[in-house]
Symmetry: C2
Subunit: 222 residues, 2 copies
DNA sequence: TAGATTGTTAATCGATTAACAATC
DNA sequence: TAGATTGTTAATCGATTAACAATC
């Protein structure tokens, strides 16, 4: 079927989307430091990114600066918050109440950046009913219904690798459409569900490639 | 100055280096599942990567497969471990003994993937001397000398953003050349020092861009 | 006005993909 | 042998950078 060329919805490269939060984080810091104006060059120097790239990235969304002057820090910050839809608070569920789950549920860095953990789940009966911060740990058995009930769209997986795919399935069934996965495994999810991965080992292994081994390395032994 | 064309040290794209640990992780899993042979196509399907890309990536380092058959899982895994220099155990220091520091010091996922936390530091006098797993929390005051003493090349920063740059400086002074930074701030480091960043909020914010807001969003209020 | 910096275009650079000869 | 899959080349695709007119 042939279509007339309607107004083409321009798709913005995913890699650009991934840089916007970095810009936002820097602008947040500048605003806290009382800085009122910045430029693509200054921002670029702070972040190790070229000024051209910053201007190009922003140009996908509109015009936010003023020639000869630069960008109003608070204005650009607010625009990025709007674009990224973090000009609100997204409720999130954390699954897994181990060390990592605790760290996530208590993490102060979510506040003011658009997120709040509102539910924590674990499979261990001994943990259910215990408190983390202000939250009561709930059973995995009620995960799907509770996610639906609370209208939660974002889930954080902090369970062992073996359990991660099952947790993902349940989250999605409850209505989750964005998953932050700390389990060291690639998840299989349906179209329309996004997954971001955090595996410190992957980050570390990409650095050891470049590291010069030194003499005192511990040898793998038995 | 003009040079004769000597044997050119081919630089492998950083983005390729970042995919190798993902391949290694998948091969580890396959090996544990008892799989002996795989192909670029199978690996690609599991990871959501094209088979051509996998073959191209591997070709930077040599020939590891057999036409008509594919790759021996354990052999390719071992080769990737060697290339990434995780065919040994790298001692690491964790700085910051909060929730996150605890989670990192206790994390079971480092073992068998090339890493071991051998020292934990914190600035809080109340925490110094306490134990996390088998480790005693040490003072930030001795960080630099202890890093040097232990020959540590990798540091993990799990302190608040305000302290992160100072911690990075001290780690580097002690001899650290690779930093995994959990603090939500871009670090400034000298040439030759690598930094990888883990900020869950950045990952989350790049997903909310694509999320459809629903009706029940909590509104930012006072 | 002179100086500075944006937004945008065009050129460059680099990464991904398609295709296939080689060969197990 | 027939079928399958690698390693590699060339083509395509996409992202980054350089440059500059517009303009504050």
């Amino acid at each position: 079927m042939t279509q007339k060329n309607g107004p083409v919805e321009k798709v913005i490269p995913d890699i650009v989307i991934h840089r916007l939060p970095v810009y936002l984080r820097a602008l947040d810091l500048m605003a806290r430091q009382g800085k009122r104006i910045t430029s693509s060059q200054e921002l670029g120097e702070r972040l190790g990114i070229s000024s051209a790239q910053i201007r190009k990235d922003l140009s996908h969304f509109g015009e936010f600066g003023k020639q000869g002057t630069g960008y109003d820090v608070e204005y650009l910050r607010d625009q990025l918050r709007r674009i990224l839809k973090v000009d609100r608070v997204w409720p999130m569920a954390v699954v897994g109440a181990g060390d990592l789950g605790h760290a996530l549920a208590n993490y102060k860095g979510f506040a003011n950046r658009g997120f709040q953990v509102v539910a924590v789940f674990d499979a261990d009966p001994a943990k259910i009913g215990q408190r983390i911060g202000g939250l009561v740990i709930e059973s995995m058995d009620v995960l799907t219904e509770r996610i639906a009930e609370l209208g939660i769209r974002i889930g954080i997986i902090a369970v062992p690798a073996e359990a991660a795919q099952d947790v993902a399935n349940r989250l999605i069934e409850g209505g989750v459409r964005a998953i932050l996965n700390y389990a060291p495994i690639t998840l299989s999810v349906p179209e329309g569900v996004r997954v971001e991965y955090i595996d410190p080992v992957l980050a570390l292994q990409s650095m050891t490639y470049y590291l010069e081994p030194n003499e005192v390395e511990t040898v793998v032994g038995s």
